[in-house]
């Protein structure tokens, strides 16, 4: 241990007397470690690259829609869908960025690295809290980045084309939707983390997340109209327009949509915390 003594373990104090550290410092260090874990895995960048690809693909679809709009008659143009990236791009961004939140815990269970993680931070709620913080941060930043890119691209493609194709008279009108889209991505990322803490398997968690975000909205279309609206209104991707307000076909007010968001987070993280705290780690 001579070599060890030359380079003490503690960055700021002697390891001989272990100092008592405040809980806030423990949590802050746990968050920093979780952030480092996300940054040092290729899968994080793969999911971000997939989000970028989905954004580009969405822009291509909007471009084709605009081309078609330009060639349509005035009567046909009046019945066109809006060129809203919330519908075309964001569900995929929600899934891919949300997968980063899920993988932050399921990949540790799958690879066994949850063991060293818990040996380093044995207070399970602190560890899950740190993971939730980083998942939320990645969700918010990723959601904001891709929402801004998608809306900027859509605004550039739409130029001064009229409604109903162009849902925003000016670019500033799109901003509430951009921020609400980022908020939904953030929420999905934390929900995916909670789901991962319960399910523990990467494959099962991502399939469930995909079902919730990508399949359920399609499934809702096959329900009777009343149920379609009721069920569709509480699905994660559909919360963006309801949170932003304005014109949308769904049932919830802004406050109602915000309450649903809170329920999603509380239920998912609560179930995750309960499962993570009570079950053996590996």
């Amino acid at each position: 241990m001579t070599t060890l003594r030359k380079c003490p373990a503690t960055a700021d104090t002697s390891s001989a007397a272990v100092p008592t550290v405040p809980r806030s410092r423990v949590f802050r260090d746990a968050v920093a470690a979780e952030w480092m874990k996300l940054r040092t895995l290729r899968s994080t960048y793969a999911f971000l690259a997939s989000s970028a690809a989905a954004t580009l693909l969405g822009m291509l679809i909007l471009f084709l829609l605009i081309q078609s709009f330009d060639q349509a008659t005035a009567a046909e143009q009046a019945n066109y869908e809006t060129a809203d990236p919330t519908v075309v791009v964001m569900p995929f961004v929600i899934f891919f960025v949300g997968s980063i939140g899920a993988m932050s815990i399921t990949s540790e269970f799958t690879t066994g690295s949850i063991g060293p993680g818990l040996l380093a931070v044995p207070q399970r709620r602190v560890l899950l809290g740190a993971k939730a913080t980083t998942a939320a941060a990645v969700g918010l930043l990723g959601g904001l980045l891709f929402a801004l890119l998608a809306f900027a691209g859509a605004t550039l493609l739409l130029c001064d084309r009229p409604a109903p194709l162009n849902p925003w008279p000016t670019w500033t009108d799109a901003m509430p939707t951009v921020f609400c889209a980022a908020l939904v991505v953030m929420v999905t990322s934390t929900v995916a983390l909670g789901l991962g803490a319960v399910v523990r398997s990467t494959a099962s968690t991502l399939v469930t997340l995909g079902g919730l975000v990508l399949v359920a909205p399609i499934f809702a279309h096959f329900l009777p109209t009343t149920w379609q609206l009721r069920f569709g209104s509480i699905l994660l991707p559909n919360l963006t327009p309801q949170l932003a307000g304005g014109n949308h076909p769904y049932l919830l007010s802004q406050a109602g949509a915000a309450a649903v968001i809170v329920v999603y987070v509380v239920v998912a993280l609560g179930a995750g915390a309960l499962s993570f705290s009570r079950r053996d780690a590996s």
Partner: protein, 306 residues
């Protein structure tokens, strides 16, 4: 110091640990020995807060592990060589652990040097051999320069040089006054590494003793070589020993220890050329002690069992 009190763990109706109690003291290397399925890993996982006990408690320095805020600075542990994310580099694996406990990055470099992985520090763990992953685990355990070290089967996958390195590392850690507990199912390995041994089977403590005591207790006989063996034999018989002669003229004495034989021979002015206390091989002793408690054993092993 590690104190385990009445630890019980059940998986359904099956008890993995059955009111297991023991203490591990600083300054010696303590071995946790038992056959496969004896409950060694379960006990270590409960001590480290990874598994929840059904009842009982395990304390390290009078605290449960999950009450320690900077655990890596107090306790270092390796439970599984395959416990690092294969997509992360060795340096980043340790850096993440270090960051969570406020340990500086210079320390990460130092332990990688110490375990001999500095040259592959920036390679992904997925490409490591079992021995390299075992060394990485040990690097993680030493990261916080802890006072307590727990290792589950640390020599698995290590080559001869690695095994010798881990032995000397554990001995030097104990010599510095640290508490060292390692588990193994290999008696031969324990005999060379540990000072004190806890033998468990079917979740119960079967034996707690020092390795020296264990050797003494299972001393079988004494081999005596003397040019005047025929004169010495009746003297030893007079001391209550059962004496037989070997083909090469030596005597095998049962029921009397080596110092008594030496004293008796000296008193009779009989020269002694060799005096060898012989024990049952520790491996045999261990198998005998754990035969009832072995959870999993192949049919061939059961036949070979004396």
């Amino acid at each position: 110091m590690i104190v385990v009190t009445e630890l019980t763990k059940r998986y359904g109706p099956t008890p993995a640990l059955d009111r297991l109690s023991f203490e591990v003291h600083p300054g010696v290397v303590t071995g946790f020995l038992g056959p496969n399925g004896a409950g060694k890993s379960t006990a270590l996982r409960i001590i480290l807060g990874l598994h929840r006990p059904t009842s009982g408690e395990a304390l390290i320095g009078n605290r449960r592990y999950d009450r320690i805020r900077r655990p890596m600075r107090e306790v270092g542990a390796v439970l599984d060589a395959d416990a690092a994310h294969p997509g992360r580099t060795a340096f980043h694996h340790l850096a993440c652990l270090a960051r969570s406990n406020g340990i500086g990055m210079a320390r990460v470099t130092a332990v990688l040097e110490q375990v001999g992985l500095a040259s592959v520090a920036h390679k992904r763990v997925g490409g490591f051999s079992l021995g390299m992953r075992q060394r990485l685990g040990i690097a993680g355990a030493l990261l916080g320069d802890p006072a307590v070290v727990l290792l589950d089967e640390p020599v698995n996958g290590l080559d001869a040089a690695g095994i010798r390195w881990i032995r000397s590392t554990l001995r030097s850690l104990a010599a510095e006054g640290r508490t060292v507990l390692l588990s193994s199912h290999l008696m031969s390995e324990m005999a060379l590494t540990v000072d004190h041994v806890l033998i468990i089977g079917r979740g119960r403590l079967l034996e707690e003793t020092s390795m020296a005591e264990m050797r003494d207790r299972f001393e079988r006989d004494v081999l005596v070589r003397s040019p005047r063996a025929d004169e010495l034999a009746p003297i030893l018989t007079g001391l209550g020993a059962s004496v037989t002669a070997t083909e090469d003229g030596a005597l095998v004495a049962v029921g009397v220890d080596a110092p008594t034989i030496g004293d008796a021979a000296a008193a009779a002015s009989i020269p002694i050329h060799g005096l060898t206390p012989r024990s049952a091989p520790l491996e045999d002793v261990y198998l005998e002690m754990t035969s009832e408690a072995a959870e999993y054993r192949a049919a061939a092993e059961r036949v070979a069992q004396p």
